[in-house]
């Protein structure tokens, strides 16, 4: 037994080894287990293994968090973080009095709502369609084709849209050749922008999002359908009373989790098109922070917007998970 002192899941080790079957004795041994010095020496290599990831996260995750203090400074590159003058809440006062900021704020909510409402039903409908197909190969093929754009970059997706429906794109050219004098350029049409970005999102992500719903559909017992059919329920009533209730849990969960990202979604998608469509339609809070901070070189102002965004998003995500838990779902984390 002496050699097993260094073993983590042996009788002398700490708790949490349910898989090892150690059970209660190990749990009880947790407090009386080896001292932290022994455990530190024993687990030295495990800790060393986590160091590369930890260092990367400290440098590129935590250091920028500390850098957020610049939101309370009038930061300039010559003085750096340590010697830039402190201005208190001046940046935030300016931010909350800035019409461009409030425009970005409301536009974020507008684009998010329209995208969510138009996008969300599509993967569900696609999943129901796929699930009803008797041919396994057709189903697999359809699924592969629709999920493919998920792996495309936003630059690629927007380029493809531009070449298909943009001013000189395939469809406007076709219309021109068939007698339509001035087809609308949907890529630069400001009022239609919210629908354009929704279409792009659907094209890129609907197929991929179908997979989750297909898994939920596979979990519905076929005997439910059979019993309903025997009782005379047609396709619509079976869908209405068996399929949709079977998808309710996952739908609510995904909706809630999506709400957590209401303020930070679609950054690249909007930024790429901001030039063509103008900030009036495409500006969201994330692009506002980037453009005012980096492009215009007003670092502190951009960081103030970034801090506002980070804090509100954190609150949203935590709240979304709370709601998910209230529905009896796990959310991003348990409890």
């Amino acid at each position: 037994m002496a050699t097993r002192v260094s073993s983590r899941s042996g009788p002398g080790a700490a708790a949490g080894t349910a898989a090892g079957g150690a059970g209660d004795p190990a749990r009880g041994a947790r407090r009386t287990g080896p001292s932290w010095r022994v455990r530190l020496r024993r687990d030295k290599s495990l800790i060393i293994m986590t160091l590369p990831a930890l260092i990367l996260l400290l440098v590129f995750g935590y250091a920028p968090m500390l850098g957020l203090v610049m939101a309370f400074q009038q930061y300039n590159v010559y003085n750096g973080l340590l010697y830039s003058p402190w201005v208190g809440l001046a940046n935030f006062q300016q931010l909350f009095g800035d019409p461009a900021f409030w425009h970005a704020f409301w536009n974020t909510l507008l684009l998010f709502s329209v995208q969510l409402v138009l996008f969300f039903p599509v993967p569900i409908a696609l999943a129901i369609l796929l699930d009803g197909l008797l041919s396994r190969r057709l189903k697999a093929f359809l699924q592969s084709v629709t999920a493919l754009p998920h792996f495309f970059s936003w630059v690629l997706v927007i380029t493809i849209f531009q070449k298909m429906i943009g001013g000189a794109g395939l469809i406007p050219q076709f219309l021109r050749q068939h007698g339509v004098a001035n087809p609308v350029d949907l890529m630069t049409n400001a009022p239609a922008f919210k629908f354009l970005v929704s279409a792009q999102l659907i094209w890129k992500e609907a197929g991929w999002n179908t997979i989750v719903f297909l898994a939920a559909l596979a979990a519905i017992s076929p005997s439910l359908y059979e019993a309903a059919a025997v009782d005379g329920a047609g396709w619509w009533r079976r869908t209405r009373h068996i399929t949709l209730p079977g998808l309710k849990g996952i739908t609510i969960l995904l909706l809630i989790l999506n709400l957590g990202y209401a303020l930070t979604f679609g950054f690249e998608q909007m930024l790429i098109q901001r030039g063509a469509i103008g900030p009036g339609s495409a500006e969201v809070l994330t692009t506002f922070s980037y453009v005012f901070g980096i492009v215009n070189g007003n670092y502190s102002y951009g960081a103030a917007a970034g801090l506002f965004l980070g804090v509100t998003s954190l609150i949203l995500i935590l709240a979304a998970n709370k709601v998910a838990h209230a529905f009896g779902e796990d959310g991003l984390y348990r409890r």
Partner: protein, 315 residues
Amino acid sequence: MTSISTRTLHAALGTAPRPVWQERPKPGTQAAKGGGIAVILALVLVPLYAVTLTSFSTQASINIAGGLVLWPHGLTANAYTLIFTGGVVGRALLISLLITVAGTAFSMVVTVLAAYGLSRPGSFGHRTILLIMLITMFFNGGVIPLFLVVSALGGYDQYWALILPSAVSVFNILVMRAFFSNIAAELIESARIDGASDWVILWRIVLPSSKAVTAVIALFYAVGYWNSWFNILLFMPADSSKWPLQMVMYNYVTEGMSFAGSGVTNVGANLGRQQIAPLSLQMAVVVLTVVPILVVYPFVQKHFTKGVLLGAVKG
């Protein structure tokens, strides 16, 4: 005769027999469903087809079509010849491939090590380290402080700035950690009694028994590196000779910047290829960004469901 041909058709499509309780759909419903499927397929495949065909089209053919080509009137691979004989696109392709390979390798080493380091139950400090990592999933400093940190470290215009800041995904670490935790503890324990260190256990036992998840995570990282664009805009906006493919596509295709002076058209002029259409060249760039994805796609696809449903993993 009809019944035989339907049967072969069903066999070819891998069709399951219709459950006895399910009514036969009416011809109208059937047609609507078929039409719907055709439209869905066309929405994805027609753009890809048009883009590919245009990249192989002569200028004459593009002129007839007035833009993207749906029906070929003359094919040529000149756009690709141009790209592969030098200039900004060929170089960008190479840069993108190198960043993707190097970045994925680096990310995998970091992720696998961290995942195993955190996967042994009861190990010293693993909860604290996990918490430190988890916090970054919920809150970050945003773009501007990150830009200043990377600049302060001398990363502006450096390739490492396109790899290191996004090299580690905490989510991927959690996914791998969950898999590693499920490997039979007896297996690891017996190796330890035989005197194997954690490094040996990871390399000889844990990794060989988690090939599938390792492949999936590696492919997700690779797609991430291949597709990344904003990092380039942030850290390498000015020097077009250093751009990876996504940035070249953004500037020369999406934004319609002229290729003049970028080396591409000069090469064309030297070769005397008057047939080269800017549009076919643009579409060739698009095709080149899609091809690597199509190459790895079948491998990702096998693990589709696993990959998506990994979201259920807990910290």
